[in-house]
Symmetry: C2
Subunit: 418 residues, 2 copies
């Protein structure tokens, strides 16, 4: 599919992440206005609340954009999602007859502050990138036992904490936690020393289900995707995670990009999952190209210094797709709801510079990275700003998510003094 031309001229720049082919969904506020739903087009945002009030969007009896979240649209289901995309494409296309009515509802993106694009119902995080699982397993259990026996048969996942999900731009306070160094007898309550990122893509469930669903149904139920940084306290995790998995190590914050890129926008970029040495059981089998060719990168900027790209990888490196993860999630009869968020798991590529966490990039802290500023890093330092970037390259256009950014604030001196 070629670039679809828009009368919003910035959207026709092949490098702009928000062409007419994209139309991602966010929530924004400008000075003096409350947060509201918006659609990115070039360097502008279409105010959807106003568009609905002005009857430019009039797809359903009920209002879709009264609340500053995209959940109400999701609740309407895939037919209305498709109708909205079609209508937005018509309104914003070159030569659109409604141009004069739509133009006053555009807000410059650089004047907008972004908010959470959805109400997250529940959050699940997976561990479904093979290079990541192999790297971590090699560090902790040796190369022979790197992958757990179940890993090639099911997408391993755990429930995370929805209350900890925040939008890009939110500062991240270094947590305290119970830690025990191998050289100490007893644990202590201390600020985290090994604070890390995890580069992931999050899938948003847009259709509820109440029993096992197939991979194809799961794929149909996904509304869209965001970039996701699963901030991780490695030292807290090391002490707490046996036998029931990560808990407080993952509960400080999970950042997501401000724009939900719809499944429809990513359709041209579908790719196959990797070759498998064990055939998946029927209920998890691929039903077509299940992944997306999305280039991903991570930048780290120390406080007051320029950023360095510390990793480059691609979403197609995953072993299990989000649809396979969602299908697995329902096998036990687990009800899924509109607004559920599924983290892909850390996306690492095969190369050393393609690793999606500092744990891997610094090989457990043993091989510090050197940044362009000359500083070195094993884990995150206070003041570091971390950004995730994602882009699918089309024929003369780019599909972007907006950066997923967060700055690490120092731990509180005393977390109980308020």
């Amino acid at each position: 599919m070629p670039l679809l031309k828009s009368w919003v001229s910035s959207a026709n720049d092949p490098a702009n992440p928000f062409p007419l082919n994209n139309l991602p969904y966010g929530v924004f506020a400008t000075q003096g206005t409350a947060p509201r739903c918006g659609v990115a087009i070039g360097d502008m945002i279409l105010d959807m609340q106003s568009a609905e009030e002005n009857r430019l969007i009039d797809l359903t009896d009920a209002a879709l954009f009264e609340l500053p979240f995209w959940n109400d649209l999701m609740e309407e289901g895939p037919a209305v999602w498709a109708a909205l995309r079609k209508r937005l494409t018509a309104l914003l296309a070159e030569g659109a007859p409604e141009r004069d009515k739509v133009a006053p509802l555009l807000v410059p993106m650089d004047r907008a502050e972004m908010h959470m694009p959805l109400m997250v119902s529940e959050y699940t995080d997976f561990y479904a990138g093979r290079h990541h699982a192999t790297n971590v397993g090699t560090m902790f259990r040796g190369a022979e036992n790197a992958l757990p026996p179940n890993w090639l048969h099911i997408p391993i996942g755990y429930n995370g904490r929805a209350s900890s999900v925040v939008v890009s731009g939110t500062d991240i306070r270094r947590p305290w936690g119970q830690l025990k160094s191998p050289d100490q007898d007893k644990p202590a309550f201390l600020p985290c020393r090994r604070f890390d990122l995890e580069l992931e893509i999050g899938a948003i469930v847009g259709v509820a289900s109440d029993g096992p669903i197939t991979v194809q149904e799961a794929d149909n139920n996904i509304f869209g995707y965001v970039l996701l940084n699963d901030w991780s306290a490695r030292d807290i995790q090391a002490w707490e995670y046996q036998p029931l998995g990560p808990f407080q190590a993952k509960a400080t914050a999970t950042s997501i990009s401000p724009w939900i890129v719809t499944r429809a926008a990513l359709e041209p970029f579908r790719t196959d999952t990797p070759a498998r040495e064990f055939e998946l059981l029927d209920h998890l089998k691929d039903c077509g190209p299940m992944l997306y060719d999305v280039d991903l990168s991570v930048t780290l900027a120390p406080e007051g210094k320029a950023e360095t790209t510390i990793a480059r990888t691609n979403y197609k490196e995953m072993y299990y797709s989000s649809a396979q993860q969602l299908a697995h999630h329902t096998t036990s009869g687990c009800p899924m709801n509109v607004g559920d968020l599924l983290g892909s798991g850390t996306i690492s590529g095969p190369g050393k510079s393609q690793r999606g966490s500092l744990l891997e990039l610094s090989w457990g802290g043993k091989e510090p990275l050197t940044l362009d500023s000359g500083e070195t890093r094993t884990f995150l330092e206070d003041g570091d700003t971390l950004s995730l970037h994602g882009a699918a390259q089309g024929d003369g256009y780019t599909i972007g998510f907006g950066a997923c950014t967060g700055t690490v604030l120092p731990a509180l001196d005393d977390p109980y003094s308020r």
Copy 2:
């Protein structure tokens, strides 16, 4: 504290679980009426929606009982919780001047169907009973390594799935899942063969927090308690749980009792936590008697047969209280919300007949139980009805929760045929 006498005479029976000292909160419906909030008193339920409409309850500017959940009351905070309890006590006490206005708002409990008493925000399950953790650890890792190294220092927990929480009386469908027997090379997708219960008490968070809170603050933030059965698919769990903990094994359903017993009602029954060989770190230390003396039991009734009591234990057997669990939950800065539900973990006593799961009672399936009907059980069979019971014994009165019941339905022939 002695029995508080009510003009609802059934509430004065020392064996009735709902005396004026209790006043637990539920949601009920009768034929022809929509679900609404109610308070149990003897064998009756006070219709709170009508009591508010009739200005018998008039504590706040906003309506508290328009929705069929107790979350709106929780949102008002502890001062309003106390005011409501005081007002209800006055309305229902012997000699209450409002008796004639209140009496028409009472509904016989045996004509009511119970619904979920709250909207669960997020659900966390702990592993904080020492006898349970020791039993399970001994089975899987041997007596020397029964407790993981962290166990005596932090209440181990994992995030569960709020969408799977159901009210007592809901049938529970035996799940399918990916399993691998030790004698097989490959996993298969099959109905669960080792379906189990876990006897727990759930604590309901009634005050939101947005950073680390002390144990005393955590205790103050707890609204009340329910009985909780964390249905568990042991064979699915055995295959999936390494390295990130239980996931689909715990996602089929979690049943809770229909009545929330408030913290206030349980105050007279506070008891100390057990002696500890390792002093807890400051942020987790007891700040008074942290547990409650609540007798607990489990009954199992095969289809069409009488029930057998298969376990008797007490909530005071826990190693960590709900307040300590909640305090730990916030250490990383994890935001907690009104309606969060924290499962205590399985409550087993030291004796063989005091174990809160069939895994323990049948010692991993090796020592089948004989029921009064003559049948034996290792794990749950289709048609079995499981009930949890809880009662605190006061001076001439009983504080009960109502049974937490569920019947196991057979697995679907094909979970994907709909």
